[in-house]
């Protein structure tokens, strides 16, 4: 269809054009877009805690369905595929879905933060942002909120719920929950925790590079920031899991290499015997594991939702 044809086609006064084959295709396109628009989230840019400008996507789902906040992993954004897959499935299922991106100290952050970026945002600040988002959901009228995290996001949701539980939060589904300590598969490269502690004591706030999660010796941060993350040791996390009053579902990939060798899985199983291990899934639930993850999440949500409704 050339430009002129397009103009004529779009003109409401050229009724004859409506009769052309092109017009039927356009109508179908409009209908499809309209229908699919319903499944797309709306982008948000809000000034969150600490007056930082944060980005997020929000989808208003069915009114009888709870809201779900899906949080990305370490240094990532809500555009991370695993988050998008989960969010998309939930939207399709009628849930209201919020997928925020933590600012990590950067206004209007829209991209993943590299390890060697200057990390001036500590765990507590991130947790504050999570709390803000939960409050925002509540402010949106959601009374039932489920929190789903992936990787470090799962940890941060756990920490956030541990430090300040919002009554609207019905459950936590923590996928690929791992501590932020150095990956067991990697040898130490950056400065150690001890060094950071020492600097902290000395009042040395200079930027150093540390090992943190997948940041292998290049997590640039002042010592206090580093320590805010690394202080959440495995044990501390386990303790948090055990002490949580909010139902927690843990889904782990049976083939997640990130915690091979650090005894994390046994500890996790000990703390959460009902954790769901998806066989063959890696840390990010790529491939067919995605469907298993989504099914598991939906299943859990539905179960939680039913239980909650019955309870109310």
């Amino acid at each position: 269809m050339d430009r002129m044809d397009k103009l004529l086609f779009l003109s409401p006064f050229k009724f004859t054009r409506w009769q052309s084959p092109h017009s039927a295709s356009f109508c179908l396109l409009i209908v499809f877009l309209f229908s699919t628009l319903q499944a797309f989230a709306q982008p948000l840019q809000l000034r969150v805690a600490n007056s930082m400008l944060a980005n997020a996507d929000y989808h208003q789902g069915e009114s009888d369905k709870p809201a779900v906040l899906v949080l990305h992993g370490f240094l990532s954004t809500h555009h991370f595929p695993t988050v998008q897959h989960i969010a998309g499935e939930l939207r399709e299922s009628g849930y209201s879905v919020l997928t925020p991106s933590l600012t990590l100290g950067l206004n209007n952050r829209t991209t993943s933060l590299p390890c060697d970026a200057l990390h001036l945002h500590n765990m507590e600040q991130s947790v504050e942002e999570i709390d803000w988002w939960v409050e925002w959901l509540v402010a949106k009228g959601h009374t039932r909120i489920h929190l789903i995290g992936h990787s470090a996001g799962s940890l941060q949701l756990l920490i956030a719920n541990m430090q300040k539980h919002n009554a609207a939060v019905q459950s936590l589904t923590l996928t690929s929950l791992i501590p932020l300590e150095r990956l067991p598969s990697e040898s130490p490269k950056g400065d150690t925790v001890e060094m950071a502690l020492k600097r902290l004591k000395q009042g040395d706030s200079s930027i150093r590079k540390y090992d943190l999660s997948f940041c292998h010796g290049n997590f640039a941060a002042p010592p206090e920031v580093y320590l805010s993350y690394v202080s959440w040791t495995k044990q501390r996390i386990i303790n948090g899991l055990k002490s949580s009053q909010t139902p927690i579902n843990i889904i782990m990939g049976g083939n997640d290499k990130r915690f091979t060798g650090n005894n994390w899985m046994p500890l996790l199983l000990q703390a959460a015997p009902k954790l769901d291990i998806l066989e063959g899934a890696n840390h990010f639930y790529d491939g067919d594991a995605e469907f298993a993850l989504l099914e598991s999440i939906l299943d859990k949500l539905e179960t939680l939702d039913t239980t909650t409704n019955r309870g109310t």
């Binding site: 007056s51 100290g105 206004n107 209007n108 952050r109 060697d116 970026a117 200057l118 930027i207 640039a220």
Partner: protein, 750 residues
């Protein structure tokens, strides 16, 4: 006069020249085309270069804008970068961020030599290290800096405060090394990127709109055009080589197929010309060529030449034959008059006063007409052939014999003096005398008269007179009964009138015209028995009051001018006058000599009418010479018969000086026979001659004729003449011719 233009247009050049000119023309045309082509290519090159320069300038301008835009974009991107915002908010770690994170983040290309963050007051967050950015942002915004022969683009882009978008949180400053940035950000098609340089000059800052003059550059050599130039030049060169080879091949081919065969043909034709008509010298083949037409032409030329040679030979033979026919006498086979005139002319032309004696011999057969009439023309022709054969044999080897006509022959003896010429003449006479004339049916001897004239020097004047002199000599030879060979002498000229004085000529002519001067002298003729004067012979003299002119001087003139008739008639009148004047004694006869010309006159009796009355008292005797009578016998006989009827007596004079044929005598209408003086002298010679004369005299007498013996000068001769039967005698013994006739003076006439 042939004009120069005509001369030029007729000038021909060899085929090789034309071929070379043609090939040269082709080369010249090719050269012109090549030159034009190269010129066009250069034009294309120039135009292309101009366009390329223009396009390069345009590219430069665009590339500058690209750099500036890229710088702006980078500055904006950086300004929007969260980490920049972070640093401007929390600058305490700026140095680390600038030196570590900014570097590792690779947010800017290599040609960005530095990035700094400035607070909203324009102060750099940390002192600048190692780049050209200022510590304090100026008010001018973007600028250019030339430093160390490099050009830097410094940009400052404001960073909006995310908390208050309208506020400026700070600035991002970038410094670009302009030329590397331009090279990396742009793709140049027309501009030679390697040529882009910063113009030399002092280190200083420039406004952004002044960037172009700070750059030096060159446009590319358009490879296509260069390639085109190379292709064209190579093509021209290749084509030139090919053309050269082709032209050489064409030249060789044309030379071999056309020029060489033509040249061969030309040379062969020259050989053919040299060969002339000799077949043996004709080459087997004129040319050998691969061209059928050349070969056929060559063969045709050869055949033509062969035919031409044959025709030429035929023509030569015909010409020779014609020449022979024109220069040889058909009857005798010797050279004819035409050949004589040709050779005579050649001799005269070759004359140069050389001391080379030349003898001219003229041969004439005596009484040839009589022989012809007697024996017939066949015998006469045979006689001519015999004469030619005999004379030719008698001549020297190499001498040519010419038949001038009738019975007249001539020869030219080169390098022969008079004696040698005489010997040749003697030889001719002897050869002739030995020839058996009866073999050709002639019973009597045939005699020839030879006139001989010699000149000692090949002088054109003397040569011119030679034939005439020989003719004179022959004339004298004929008249002289004793000598058959007559050598020319000056006297002959005088006698012939050629040297005769004008007096004699005038007198003779006047006499012939009847203007007077004739004086008759009379010589007595006596009776042998009685000694009485029977009659007088009238002999003519001319008296012009200066003296007497004798017949020797008179008759050549008369004969030359064919005045015989009027002269004879005037003589007759003179005699008549003398008779009437009683100059002669009564009763005495008078003989008058008349030429055959007069006797032949159809109305002779009318002319001789004055004589007839005189017959009453005088005996008139008409003397006609034997020669004249014989040569004109037929014509004279009738007139003589008429005269005899009137009583005129006819005497045959000089019997024996010519063709003395007795048979002829019987036919002559004569009454008296006068024996020539030679015959009288023969009476005194050997017995055989005397016998012949005596027998002749007897026959004359027995035939009834009166016989007069002339030339009696002695008594012996008288006696002999008397004994042989002469009835009358005449001679000096009895009296010389005188004006007044007198009686005989011989005392012993009895």
């Amino acid at each position: 006069m042939v004009s120069e233009r005509t001369k030029f247009s007729k000038r021909a050049f060899s085929s090789q020249t034309y071929i070379l000119l043609l090939l040269l023309s082709i080369v010249l045309v090719f050269g012109l085309i090549a030159h034009s082509l190269v010129g066009r290519v250069q034009e294309i090159k120039d135009v292309t270069q101009t366009e390329t320069d223009r396009a390069a300038a345009e590219e430069l301008s665009k590339s500058i804008q690209v750099v500036i835009k890229s710088a702006n974009n980078l500055a904006q991107d950086l300004a929007q970068w969260g980490e920049v915002n972070q640093q401007l908010h929390k600058p305490q770690y700026y140095s680390y961020w600038r030196e570590q994170r900014l570097v590792s983040a690779r947010k800017y290309p290599d040609y960005v030599r530095g990035i700094e963050l400035y607070d909203n007051n324009g102060k750099v967050l940390a002192p600048v290290i190692g780049n050209n950015l200022p510590n304090q942002r100026g008010k001018k915004g973007h600028l250019l800096q030339r430093k160390d022969s490099k050009l830097y683009l410094v940009t400052f882009s404001p960073v909006s405060d995310s908390d208050n978008p309208g506020d400026t949180l700070g600035y991002v400053g970038t410094v670009w090394e302009f030329v590397p940035a331009m090279l990396l950000l742009n793709h140049f098609t027309y501009l030679d990127s390697s040529s882009i340089q910063v113009a030399q000059g002092p280190d200083m800052a420039w406004p952004l709109d002044r960037i172009k003059p700070l750059l030096r550059y060159k446009s590319i050599d358009v490879p296509a055009v260069q390639k085109l130039e190379d292709v064209v030049l190579n093509s021209v060169l290749e084509f030139g080589v090919i053309l050269g080879v082709f032209l050489i091949a064409v030249y060789l081919g044309v030379s071999r197929l056309f020029i060489h065969p033509l040249q061969q043909m030309y040379l062969r034709l020259a050989e053919l010309r040299a060969a002339g008509t000799e077949d043996s010298k004709l080459p087997e083949r004129l040319v050998t060529s691969r061209l059928k037409e050349i070969n056929e032409l060559s063969e045709a030329l050869r055949r033509y030449h062969r035919k031409l040679a044959a025709t030429s030979r035929d023509l030569d033979e015909s010409n020779q034959e014609l020449w022979n026919m024109a220069h040889l006498d058909v009857l005798s086979g010797v050279h004819n008059r035409r050949a004589f005139e040709h050779d005579w002319r050649a001799i005269q032309e070759a004359a140069g006063g050389q001391r080379l004696p030349i003898a001219f011999l003229l041969f004439d057969c005596d009484f040839f007409k009589a022989i012809n009439d007697t024996y017939g023309h066949t015998t006469g022709d045979r006689l001519v052939q015999v004469l030619a054969e005999v004379l030719h044999k008698a001549l020297r080897t190499g001498d040519k014999l010419y038949r001038l006509g009738g019975d007249e022959f001539a020869t030219l003896l080169l390098n022969a003096d008079e004696g040698q010429a005489h010997q040749v003449a003697e030889r001719c006479l002897e050869s002739l005398s030995k020839y058996p004339m009866h073999d050709i049916g002639i019973q009597e001897s045939v005699m020839i008269s030879i006139g001989l004239a010699v000149t000692q020097r090949m002088n054109s004047e003397e040569l011119k007179n030679l034939p005439r002199q020989a003719d004179l000599a022959m004339y004298h030879a004929k008249r002289d009964k004793h000598r058959r060979i007559s050598h020319y002498s000056a006297e002959m000229d005088r006698m012939s009138g050629s040297v005769i004085s004008s007096r004699a000529v005038s007198a003779a002519i006047d006499a012939a015209k009847g203007l007077g001067g004739i004086e008759m002298h009379y010589q007595p003729i006596v009776n042998t028995q009685t000694g009485q004067v029977i009659h007088y012979e009238s002999l003519v003299r001319i008296n012009d009051n200066q003296g007497l002119i004798f017949p020797g001087d008179i008759f050549p003139i008369i004969d030359q001018r064919s005045l015989q008739v009027p002269f004879d008639l005037n003589i007759m009148r003179s005699v008549c006058d003398d008779i009437q004047a009683h100059h002669l004694p009564k009763g005495v006869g008078v003989s008058i000599n008349m030429s055959a010309h007069t006797l032949m006159l159809p109305n002779l009796l009318e002319h001789l009418a004055p004589l007839l009355p005189l017959l009453e008292e005088h005996t008139i005797i008409i003397e006609v010479t034997e020669t004249d009578l014989i040569t004109q016998l037929q014509h004279v006989t009738e007139n003589l018969a008429q005269l005899r009827e009137y009583g005129v007596i006819i005497a045959l004079d000089d019997f024996g000086s010519g063709y003395s044929s007795i048979r002829y005598l019987a036919r002559m209408p004569v009454d008296i026979v006068k024996f020539d003086i030679e015959m009288i002298r023969d009476l005194e010679s050997d017995a055989s001659r005397r016998s012949i004369v005596e027998n002749a005299a007897r026959m004359v007498r027995e035939a009834g004729y009166q016989l007069i013996a002339e030339g009696i000068e002695t008594t012996t001769q008288r006696d002999l003449a008397s004994s042989m039967g002469a009835t009358h005698l005449q001679g000096y013994l009895f009296g010389k011719p005188e004006r007044t006739p007198h009686p005989a003076t011989i005392s012993n006439t009895a």
